[in-house]
């Protein structure tokens, strides 16, 4: 399914498949690339099928670095499993998660 994109100036970084310990290293490279790109970062997590602590860590670090650089980080879409974890960990507010984006 295609995630709806509204008013996004930069193309969103779409992370599909798993966002877990097994993919953490490659995700880290993608995020570093995005961070070095110099634009606001839009994350499309609408097609993430597995999301674990390793994934949470990546997002937390990304958020912190974006804040430090004064860069905007927006999650434009998120799948159910990502939403479940962020809700469990009480991180929805931190990432300004859209209420019903999917």
């Amino acid at each position: 399914m295609k995630a709806p994109r509204r008013k996004t100036r930069t193309p969103p970084l779409r992370l599909g498949g798993d966002l877990n310990i097994y993919t953490a290293a490659s995700v880290q490279q993608q995020l570093l690339g995005a961070l070095n790109g110099g634009h606001a970062i839009n994350l499309d997590l609408g097609e993430v099928s597995e999301f674990d602590s390793a994934g949470v860590q990546q997002l937390l670090v990304l958020k912190r670095e974006c804040d430090a650089l004064g860069r905007a980080l927006q999650i434009t879409a998120l799948s159910d499993c990502v939403r479940e974890v962020l809700t469990l960990l009480n991180l929805n507010d931190l990432f300004a998660v859209p209420a019903n984006a999917s």
């Binding site: 310990i21 880290q28 995020l31 674990d52 602590s53 937390l60 469990l88 960990l89 009480n90 991180l91």
Partner: protein, 691 residues
């Protein structure tokens, strides 16, 4: 990312817990009001669910959850434990055991597992929905305790993810214990993105939990991650939850100042309450250290240790022998000290392998329960001597023979209820399992209070099968032993369980491979007892060395009763009659020279009739109730013996059960005492009939 060790622990623990659950359920059938037992069942199910949740085995979690719900209703008194319910729970336990296999390996699920799951779930649902709706019950429960607030500080170690565990799983499981009032995720240990190790874990959590669970159960959530995680669980008061959620974290130095002092300072709680909480914590820790006193060890490591100790024993006796030859007192003294230490090391190494037979016996509670229902007899199992210890390898292999014997006793031994009533016996029959130590052996008894063996029937059948000649007049005892012969069954009707004539001879063979013996003792109308006699250990024994010419033989020291020199008159008695009068007792005697066909022609004048005779000695040995004398040339004293099994090539050898290596490097054969005693008995009978 090796999941294996944790997974192995999970599988082993689930096995134990399911066994516990089954035991408690069976006990509950006789003691239905026992709250402790019900709690034990609940705890077992709960722990399995939790551990399975940590590993993400959803099939086990979802099924066990239903079982747990049902058990919870039982605990709350909303349901009563009926016979049907108890049977259902037992089947649920079986099903949980069946689920573990496919979940923890790549093996495909056996056919029918899914249907079974659905069927049991449906049955559970009937009971669960029978009372008040579960939601209501859950809501009512927390109200009973007002003060179930806890504060948890978790700092996961870097290796957690790599060890295959996900901190999220623990939080999810924690949420099943109660309400997660507040979670604060701590990311301050995370390094910069470019420097971060993507597979290391940097997360920490501060959690406020509202739960009626006690500290141990909350603590139990983290069992699998304990080594890799700083865990701090403190009882909190309601006031804590009223504090701004992020304050404890934001407060600098929060970690330096104990929460208790913080709270006292803030006037939130009194010093007394803090002391009480600390005391409680202390107690929990002590409990913890006691738990830690048991460790799991890979059985292969133990086997390796035993093998090494065996080599050490041989090397030690080599030194001992050389020291004696040298005649140097200091060396001999050192060798003695060494020998004593080696003996102690050997005993404790063997002790490591000793396990109680209790759990093996307990498994039969279920068998007896199920089978007695199946065949419509009222039978109870009586267990004694459960704390008798024996070698682990023996325990592992005794299960099948015992199963045969118990089923046999239930099916053939015990009469129908009607028949029992008719002969004035209590309707409820008993099968008894008993174990005890006896002169270096362990004895396991399976007895029943049934009809006993019908010796006439056995005799007729034995004659028909050609096992016995029609004119022979064996004793009742001898006839009874015939049921261990291959292809023998006295059951008139072949039942589902036994009676196909493939029972008792298999039992005997199994026991014989363990160097054990079987005997049966039966009284018509009173009952039957099958007695299995097993060596304590299969590896190392204290031996008694004897010599025949240049050859050396070892007897297990435990069977040796006494030794004496054989006088000339006695020698004559032995060769003429095959038995000896020792303190008024007729002792069957076997001359090992004759038994092993020693060539005497070359030796110096062996002639029992002459005075220039060879000195001979007699060793009196005992096995069970039987005693016999073995005539040997020399008595050479005690030694530690590592038993080396003989190869297949020598399996036909009679009177020899194994070999060992002496300190001198020579090989000595280990005598098979039960076999020799039997031969001596036969010899004596022959001698008596001639005399």
């Amino acid at each position: 990312m090796d999941l294996n060790p944790a997974l192995q622990t999970f599988i082993a623990e689930c096995g134990e817990l399911l066994e516990q659950m089954e035991q408690s359920l069976l006990q509950l059938e006789n003691d239905s009001g026992n709250r402790d037992l019900l709690d034990a069942v609940f705890r077992a199910a709960h722990t399995i669910k939790g551990s399975a949740g940590v590993f993400g085995f959803d099939s086990i979690v979802s099924f066990t959850h239903q079982v747990e719900t049902l058990l919870d209703r039982l605990r709350n008194g909303e349901l009563a434990l009926s016979e049907n319910l108890s049977a259902l729970l037992l089947r649920c336990g079986d099903h949980m055991a069946a689920l573990i296999g496919p979940a923890t390996s790549d093996a495909p699920a056996p056919a029918g597992l899914g249907e079974n799951d659905a069927a049991l779930s449906a049955e559970l649902a009937v009971f669960i929905d029978g009372g008040t709706p579960p939601a209501q019950a859950a809501a009512a429960a927390p109200a009973e305790h007002g003060n179930g607030y806890w504060h948890l500080s978790l700092r996961f170690g870097p290796e957690v993810l790599r060890n295959g565990m996900d901190p999220l799983s623990f939080l999810r499981y924690l949420s099943t214990l109660g309400e997660l009032v507040q979670i604060t995720t701590l990311g301050e240990r995370l390094p910069a993105l470019a420097e971060m190790d993507p597979e290391a874990c940097y997360l920490g959590f501060e959690i406020d939990l509202h739960s009626d669970a006690d500290r141990a159960s909350i603590d139990g959530v983290f069992d699998f991650v304990r080594d890799d995680c700083e865990i701090d669980i403190r009882p909190a008061v309601d006031a804590v939850t009223a504090l701004p959620a992020d304050e404890p974290v934001a407060e600098p130095g929060f970690n330096e100042l104990p929460l208790g002092e913080l709270l006292v300072a803030a006037g939130a709680v009194s010093q007394v309450a803090v002391d009480a909480a600390l005391h409680q914590q202390q107690a929990a820790r002590q409990q913890k250290t006691q738990d830690n006193r048991l460790i799991r060890v890979d059985a292969d490591k133990l086997d390796e240790l035993i093998t090494l100790v065996g080599e050490l024993v041989i090397a030690g006796s080599g030194i001992h022998a050389r020291a004696q030859q040298s005649g140097l007192v200091e060396i001999m003294e050192s060798a003695m000290t060494l020998a004593r230490l080696v003996e102690e090391v050997r005993d404790s190494a063997l002790g490591l392998r000793m396990v109680q037979i209790g759990p093996t016996f307990q498994r039969f509670q279920r068998v007896v329960r199920d089978v007695s229902r199946e065949i419509g007899k009222d039978i109870e199992l009586d267990i004694t001597g459960a704390d008798t210890e024996l070698d682990k390898s023996v325990v592992e292999r005794i299960g099948d023979p015992l199963m045969h014997l118990v089923r046999n006793a239930m099916d053939h031994g015990i009469e129908t209820s009607a028949a029992r009533r008719a002969c004035g016996k209590p309707e409820r029959a008993r099968v008894k399992l008993n174990a005890y130590h006896d002169s270096g052996s362990i004895v396991i008894e399976v007895s029943d209070d049934g009809a006993g063996l019908n010796t006439e029937k056995i005799r007729a059948k034995a004659i028909a099968r050609g096992l016995l000649s029609a004119t022979a007049t064996p004793s009742a005892q001898e006839i009874q032993q015939l049921i261990f012969e291959p292809g023998f069954s006295t059951a008139d009707a072949v039942s589902n369980l036994s009676g196909r004539g493939v029972g008792m001879d298999v039992v005997r063979r199994n026991i014989e491979t363990l160097r054990g013996t079987t005997e049966i003792d039966s009284t018509a109308g009173v009952g039957t007892t099958v007695r299995i006699r097993l060596p304590l250990t299969l590896a190392i024994i204290d031996g008694f060395l004897v010599g025949l010419g240049a050859a050396r033989y070892v007897l297990p020291l435990d069977v040796v009763v006494e030794c004496m020199e054989l006088s000339g008159a006695d020698q004559r008695a032995v060769s003429e009659r095959g038995f000896l009068n020792i303190r008024g007792e007729a002792l069957p005697v076997l001359r090992l020279r004759t038994a092993f066909d020693f060539d005497d022609t070359g030796s110096t004048a062996f002639d029992p009739g002459e005075t220039g005779r060879r000195r001979e000695n007699i060793v009196v040995v005992r096995f069970g109730a039987l005693k016999a004398g073995l005539v040997v040339d020399e008595l050479l004293g005690e030694l530690q013996t590592v038993i080396k099994p003989l190869g297949k090539l020598f399996s036909f050898l009679q009177g020899i059960s194994g070999s060992t290596i002496l300190g001198s490097g020579d090989v000595a054969l280990i005598l098979d005492v039960p076999g020799l005693i039997k031969r001596a008995e036969a010899h004596k009978a022959h001698g008596l009939s001639v005399a």
